[in-house]
Symmetry: C5
């Protein structure tokens, strides 16, 4: 950040993106961008940041070793050996590390920019003797639904694979590391391209548990939305739609990237690894399918929600109407016999008041009226609907 | 499952998908996925499961025999003979069976994975001397609408066809078996490719009865939604939309697979079977068409539902308004003559109370007011709408 | 049907589609399907049905004759002559007729199935020396809007055209027959391909009057939906949407079929007839266009309907609010002076009752209150909206 | 029309389209269609109609002349000269004129039909030595928004251009005529293809003023829909959607036609005119863009309308609720003290009535109740919303 | 404008677009159009306008100079030199300037028209030795969200780049100018194509801050729409949708233009600049992605808004129903004992009035009734919802 702010002042631009860190939701969508006019290849890193952890795993069919490196330069001897060297950089670190990395791996300035200035859109770029793959890994949240996403960049060479992770804490590569260490499966018999496939496969498969959590959430909302739709339900539906949109934006370009990897694949990927990638592509298509399906379901939920709310209003209105309709006429009758016309002035003035059965007859009239109205509403089935209201 | 959990612990991953079995609705949508990082080719089977039933039907133009096999190895002699051998595996069984199967049929590890780790997305894969087809069979529910779906995998070789069904109980292949047994049609005169076509055709045609049930359900909802829309109606519409979505996800890739089978068809499929497959493709397109049409209809139903609910609310409001509007003024009049102004203090204080015709005049006023309001509402046609409410 | 049920029992399947005939609306959408597993080429006809009417029109530039044939076999001599032979089969008849037809015209079993087992999706299939076209003819209903649709199948050979109509009653081919009889236009100078074009053109042009009826209906609904939306309006809109969906499903594949006819056209169609077909294709595109436009309009109508209903509710609510707001305060005032506080116990107890001008003042208060409220509502323009309600 | 009805009777068809002229809105959408089965090339013209006005403008670099012709035959000498001849036919006239025209210009019967039987879908057809372009010109209404549309057909030959306008009254070609007359720009230096371009460019540019009017209308509705949505607003929104649909149907095929003109352009169009057409194509794309944008805006307006109506209802309901909630409890209190329990029978019977401060205390209670409720509603901000209602 | 009005009068057209300047919102959408029939190449400029500011920056690897030019002619000597000449024209100026520019740069009349008659749709056109790029620059508003957009045209030659900006005030090119001046990055080592890339990259990156502002606005609306939706919220949502539509229309063709630049790129762009352009294209795709995502979010917000409004109405209705339902029965009871039946005439006439505990019993009844209703509503959870209403 330090370095970037310096650059900004040199360029005489207002530092208007300084508060960028505070927004949380918007960041899901706006990818990394240079301030307009920045020199291509500028890295947006804080110079005083700690250097990243660099782990080198070097293996061939017979042996596998794991070294934690102090400096990028220490990689150099491994890169040209026949054994597969996996250089795993965890955390983005500071600019000086990357300038040295640039030299050791002979990276194009734009590649360096894509790797470091996260987030970038997933893609595949073929740079003659290097294949650059930008991918996006999702990690489900510890509790509740939702996910945290992180960019993973791959630079695949003849005998080496450089991977760069945004955050040092978590990844989904442990099983692959164990397979290398314990020589499980065929990974030790294959080259760096198979390693790259294995890692990408882990990333794609990592989308399924996240999707499964959304599936359960949608199932649960399907009940909630019909039986007791509240404002909270509405928020949850919107939240799911929003996050599915973010997932879709992550997986869609990844699918395209895998497709171009299979189709116009470079020499760095051997034909039988391509078969494995096709399998991986199938999984990406499945992820897309599920995301689209969930999007349609959640959009249907919104319709159901609106209908449910209208239904509720009908029930409320019915209750009001029933009560009002029954008591308003009765109150009118009571009002009539509360009038003070002088019965002594005329035999026509409220003779009912002086009848022997006046009061009981008045009650009889009121009860009959009420009963008539109850029957009227009963026949239209208003009370049935009312009883369905009960079992909420 | 046993085996899988072992693998999970070896890989030091949380067994977070253990409760997966409980969800029912979500499973329609989330396809099978390996835990991220699993070795490609891992089979997710319980080692103590019973072995699957393996039935071999071997036929040529002159004879047909049916054998229930104990072990995959027993298939071997049939596979290279000139007669057509249909190896029908019912149920997924345990891993050891499949490891032997792998050897007998010389299956690629990824093919084995697709066949066993269900559900997979329908597809066609060409593996030189084998054609692998993943299909999805639907079986209508015994009662009510809805369906149960099951993966059927085909491995087509030169003289044999291996089919693998997820569940041993039910399939839609009986008519084909009968045609082979009784030598009906041309099936005995053709090769394994025609057999594969016949089975795929059965699967595709199996979608029609399911769709027909939805068609009837939609017809019925069309009435219900206008005449008496209830919360139950809403649930049914949403349910149909959801299931049509599932059907669409099953048929769409199957159509694509059939298309690629016809277009870039391997040598394993003879040109005149390709003509039959074109017919089968036409049917798949029809299924898609109907599914899309039903989706549009059910989405239209949701609009109608919402409008209907609003209509109902209007009727309820009208009733409340009519009753309130008629009785509130009357109650006011009764209230006026219930006031206790002292008529003796002033000739201006409620002289009506002492008139000879006071009470009858009061009633006359009230009746006139009520009649006026009734006429007012009558003229606006409120009672007409009200009578349409009656014939619900 | 007889024959089909036999087949069903042989195949040990439940005859679950027997009640199929009763549904009316769903049948618009579900195309014909064999029971899953049926032998390809099975015909679904009743053996005891009457044979179809077969009319043969044979013509060349100099003469034209019309013969009603007893049996398909009677066609044979005409088919190879140089003159154009139009064999028009009206009604589907029974299986034995078709088995003979199959031989006379040398039909592929799948073609026969497409022709007889209606409805099929419109399509074009090229069978070397025969071109098979499945089309769908619409016939407007005698009264009201709506249409009846019927499959017409064409088998075009070098010098003959076989057409098969589903129902014997009605078609739109009479003008073409007249043009042949009276030698109008160039039809007698051209071959069977031009005849096929003329008939297809009649079929496509037959969609326009049907669409025109929908156009008028939509025009009429546009008024109705704003001025007096009723439940009936809602049903009509949904009905139109449903029928336009059916029309769209009929015309869409027909347009595609025409397109493939022009593009990869077989040798059976001469280049200058292809120009005429291009014109016909243009018309099919126009039909599609209009159908899509009407679909958008009717979907807009649904929005307008919902808004209109809400508007109505607002008017009703306003009326209720006006009446309640005016009379509830008045009733309160009347209630106050109906209280029985003892005026003799205290000069503070309702002295108004004993005032000389008490009662008139009370009325004045009430009238002032009512007037104030009327002015209040007047200023907000509620009565204006109310007067617009009047001119419904 | 005369001639057509004759044809109809000959063909023994019901003249069911006679009332076609009355509908106004539907005609925007249904294109011209022959009665099903009509002979291709039949012209739908009234024989007793006046002949069209035929104006011939003949020019080359050095001179330009304008002649009003009596008869199509008079064109003949001009057509083969090296100078550019623009034959502008205004009005469709009668059939005999067109039969002569057919000979003079050597038109294909289907071309003649497209030119005369309006409206046709815009398209380009290449007839070897003639290029036929069907376009649709829009002319804004004199007052208010909306437009009148008219077909213009172009037949482009080597040295001539035939244009046919549906109506003689109005066109947007005057500026082009002036440019020819006054030799402005390069028009006199170029051939008939440049003339065709100039006229098509005028037609496409003629869409912009129409669109601008819709833009203003939408701007205006955007205010109206939020501040005072009435039923009239709803009608206007629907009207705009409908007319934009009509515009879209006019411009869409025109864009496609221009595209095919540029791409597979015939020899009749020189390469540098093709550059001009590319510019014209860009404009057509812009028109499409704007139409689509307006369609989205107007569809958004419908949503806003519905929300606005619901908002209004909320305000009305709030008013009713406030008034009812305040006065109903007060009326209850008044009702209590209007009861006639005999105070003399028991000290518990309504002793309040005989209290010295009874009546003032009663008022105090009522005022306190009302004040409490007002404060309650005030705190929830209901009066704020109410004041926003005021500034409508 | 002056010049244009002259032209209009010459062409005898009504000057109906004169008031064009007043509309503000519509102008976002309607691109520049000539009055129909205008001569191609007509420039719409005011002859008395000030000439534009022309700044020439000429640089090569060793030196860089900046000159403000008086006249276009002064550029001529620089254009053919080996050094890169950037001619930056700020403001559109008057026609005479452009006529001289046309000669100096040898511009095609249609290119000149595209450059001057703004706004045009972004595009790329290849004119042999010149590459013309029309782009659209967005500049965020000083305060609040929203943006101002401006056309920037590029004419790229072998050794020069002509850029034309619509407004002289603001641009986003300052950082590029600084990079040239201070020789930062590789810009001084590259040709005019790299300069063009740098400027286009600045333009595309300029979209991100604008989008970020919308992202924040949407975040904020997401809260507002659920907790306190007002009419203002509705306006804001609509406003965002409208502006995103405008952004989309700006970026979409720009992305296409970049794509065609990379794909069929002319000789004027060297292969390694094409790699940079690919990066720039990626950014344009990201902008598109974000715009589409925001459009979906804002469209979802509209749904949430409508649901929220309905929710509010439910709460209001519930309050009304609760208050009415409780007090209406109580008022009825009070009304009953306000009746005046003569207790002396009959022991059945309201004996309650004379009971010793009459009045307390009456209160007890009323309190029990009210309590019963409160419990009834409590159990249905109406008060819970009511308390959620409180925390608005």
């Amino acid at each position: 950040m330090m370095e970037r702010r310096l650059a900004a002042s040199e360029l005489a631009l207002e530092p208007e993106q300084v508060e960028e860190e505070e927004e949380s939701a918007a960041e899901d969508f706006v990818e990394y961008y240079d301030e307009p006019g920045t020199i291509p290849g500028t890295l947006d890193l804080e110079e005083d940041a700690l250097p990243p952890t660099i782990v080198l795993i070097d293996y061939n069919e017979t042996k596998a070793s794991r070294v934690v490196l102090d400096s990028p330069a220490a990689c150099a001897p491994y890169l040209d050996s026949e054994s597969v060297s996996w250089v795993d950089v965890m955390g983005l670190g500071n600019e000086s590390t990357w300038r040295r990395m640039e030299k050791v791996f002979d990276l194009h300035p734009l590649v360096l920019e894509d790797v470091v200035n996260v987030p970038q859109r997933p893609k595949v770029e073929d740079h003659e003797d290097q294949l650059v793959i930008i991918a996006r890994m999702v990690i489900p949240k510890e509790k509740g639904i939702g996910f945290h996403s992180e960019q993973v960049s791959f630079v695949l060479g003849k005998h080496y694979l450089l991977t760069v992770q945004e955050e040092p804490e978590q990844d989904c590569f442990q099983p692959v590391r164990d397979r290398i260490r314990h020589d499980k499966g065929i990974i030790r018999k294959r080259g760096a391209d198979y390693l790259a496939y294995s890692l990408i496969d882990s990333i794609i498969d990592g989308y399924f548990p996240v999707l499964e959590a959304y599936g359960e959430q949608i199932d649960q909302l399907e009940d909630e939305v019909v039986t007791q739709p509240t404002r909270r339900t509405l928020e949850k539906i919107y939240q799911i739609r929003r996050e599915l949109l973010a997932l879709r934006r992550a997986i869609w370009p990844q699918r395209d990237a895998l497709n171009s990897l299979i189709r116009d694949g470079s020499d760095l990927i051997s034909p039988d690894v391509r078969i494995y990638l096709r399998d991986c592509y199938d999984h990406a298509v499945q992820v897309m399918d599920i995301v689209e399906t969930y999007r349609e379901l959640s959009s249907g939920l919104m319709d159901v929600y609106l209908s449910s709310i209208s239904n509720k209003m009908n029930e409320i209105m019915k209750l009001l109407t029933v009560i009002s309709s029954i008591f308003i006429p009765l109150t009118f009758i009571a009002g009539v016999y509360g009038m003070n016309f002088n019965t002594e002035k005329s035999p026509w003035n409220m003779p009912e008041l002086n009848w022997y059965w006046g009061y009981p007859l008045c009650w009889a009239t009121m009860i009959a009226t009420a009963a008539g109205l109850v029957v009227f509403f009963w026949r239209r089935g208003w009370f049935e609907n009312y009883s369905t209201l009960k079992d909420d």
